[in-house]
Amino acid sequence: MDVFRLHFDIDGGSFASAGNASVEVKKTLRQLGVSNAVIRRCSIAMYEGEINMVIHADGGTADVEVYPDRIVMVLEDHGPGIPDVELAMKEGYSTATEQIHNMGFGAGMGLPNMKRSSDDLKIETKVGVGTKITMVVRL
C-alpha cells in the first residue's frame, strides 16, 4: 500500500515565512485529490502547529503521511516543552508575548484549534527537552 510522505524543516527564525510548510501540504493534498473538507481541517491543524513551533520553539520538523484512510501529521521540536498540557489546551490560555499578539496569534487558540481540526491529537512533551505532537485526520 502506497504511503505519500512529506518532510519539512521549519525555520524558527522568521515569523514572516511561518506557514510555508502548511501551504505546501495543502497544495499536495489538493493534487492527491483529497476532499476540500479534509484539506481544510489538515490546513488549520498544520498551520497552527507550524506557527506554534516558530513562536515557542525556534522551529522544528514536520512530517506528513497520507494513507488511504487517514492523514498523519507529526510536528516535533526541541523547544521549552509544555509544563501543564491541560492548561495549554484551554481556550484563551497563552504564554505568547505581546509582540506575537500584535501579529494576530497567541490568543490561546492554537492547541484547541489543532484538537478541533483533527480526529486524534497526541502531545508528548518534556520540559527543557521538547514537544512532539501527532495529529490524525481521517479521510
Binding site: A16, A18, V23, S43, I44, E48, M103, G104, F105, M109
Partner: protein, 114 residues
C-alpha cells in the same frame, strides 16, 4: 455580491488580482486575531482586518478565502501584496473603520458563512 461591488460599497482601492474583481463573495468574517479566524470562520470567502502581516494572507489561503479588505486605510507591505498576488487573493484597502466596513456589508444582507 461581486468583489467589484464590495469595492464600490466600501470606497476601496484594489491592490492586486484585479482580474478577479468579478468573482462572487457571499459571506465575510471581520477579525484581527488570525487564530480566531482559524477557529471560528466557517465558509467565509472575505476577510476584513486591520492586521498587516504575511500571516493574514496565509490564513486566508488556509481557508480558501478569495479577498482581504484592509481597513482604516492601512496599506500592506510589498511583501504582503506579492504573496497575495502569487496566490490569487484580491487585496482591497478602505479608509473606513472595521465597524463601518462590516456594517455596510452586513446591511446588504451579506451572511456570516452560516
Amino acid at each position: 455580491m461581486t468583489i467589484r461591488e464590495i469595492m464600490k460599497l466600501l470606497d476601496a482601492q484594489v491592490l492586486c488580482c484585479e482580474d478577479a474583481l468579478d468573482s462572487e463573495v457571499v459571506d465575510a468574517f471581520s477579525c484581527d486575531m488570525m487564530s480566531d479566524v482559524l477557529a471560528f470562520a466557517t465558509n467565509e470567502s472575505l476577510l476584513i482586518t486591520g492586521l498587516l502581516n504575511p500571516q493574514v494572507v496565509r490564513t486566508a489561503m488556509m481557508l480558501d478565502m478569495r479577498c482581504i479588505v484592509f481597513v482604516c486605510g492601512k496599506i500592506p507591505t510589498p511583501e504582503i501584496i506579492s504573496l497575495a498576488r502569487e496566490n490569487g487573493i484580491v487585496l482591497l484597502v478602505t479608509d473606513h473603520y472595521m465597524f463601518t466596513a462590516s456594517g455596510r456589508l452586513y446591511a446588504t444582507g451579506m451572511l456570516r458563512g452560516e
